[in-house]
Symmetry: C2
Subunit: 157 residues, 2 copies
């Protein structure tokens, strides 16, 4: 794993690395790496698998396109992951009566077990992550992330 933000920064470098985008990028990497390790050790699924299991398990039945919207993952990526989750016996797919394009996805008992095992672990992790932030901090952070997300959407430079 990579080093910390070095303390011996020269001001020029510091200036550039101070960009919020750098920090967010670094944080994202570290969070992903951490989540991947936790999930591999405790549950035996990948991060993407967990993301999808989490949403399916949280809503009984879900379609692939809903997963795309909710997880912000790529269409193709979702499609392939659904396939592997079905092959692993974690997810079941049944045709929707009305629209023969869509498949309703749900957790199998095995998938539910994974969900029930992973959820408390991941909740605990979220709590630990937030343990050095006050509730007000977290609230404000959410707001700011939303604001940044909006700002990241329009390109007019």
């Amino acid at each position: 794993m990579n080093d910390e933000t070095p303390q011996d920064f020269n001001p020029q470098l510091a200036q550039l690395s101070g960009f919020l985008t750098y920090r967010i990028s670094r944080l994202h990497q570290k969070l992903n790496s951490q989540a991947t390790k936790i999930l591999a050790a405790k549950v035996g699924v990948t991060l993407n698998q967990w993301r999808m299991i989490a949403f399916i398990g949280g809503a009984e039945t879900v379609t692939a396109s809903e997963l795309v919207r909710y997880t912000a993952m790529d269409k193709g990526l979702v499609s392939r992951n659904v396939k592997s989750l079905i092959q692993d016996g974690l997810v079941a797919s049944t045709g929707d009566g009305k629209d023969s394009r869509v498949h309703l996805l749900s957790l199998t008992p095995k998938g539910k077990k994974v969900f029930d095992l992973a959820l408390p672990t991941m909740r605990k992790r979220q709590k630990q992550l937030q343990s050095n932030l006050s509730d007000d901090d977290v609230k404000r952070l959410r707001d700011m992330l939303d604001i940044l997300e909006l700002a990241a959407e329009d390109i007019d430079i």
Copy 2:
């Protein structure tokens, strides 16, 4: 590009997607995608190339391992990107007298041009991103990102 966070969330889904990590992940993706587009349109370099040019240009000479530390990119990725930057004539590499393993990297005049072209653009972007946040917000955000980054480093769940 993916849709917005849907407004018609059911509470279960909302609960899960409320995890900070989801938001940070989504934000990161959007920021990356935005930066990639801006850089392609205005400067003609990739995001990774820009990251490296930014650090080299901000410090006169830099070694590859410094780039690894500062950008938090993978060793191998840095190595390959340095190679391509040299091939494109943007970066020059000279051997360090003392340590024959290290190469001192600096911008060529052509690389400096790219730097001088991209820097104001990227600064402007950062300003725009922050335009809906107060200075105090930004300060607090930085602090919180640092706190989260630290928390993301230890795994003990």
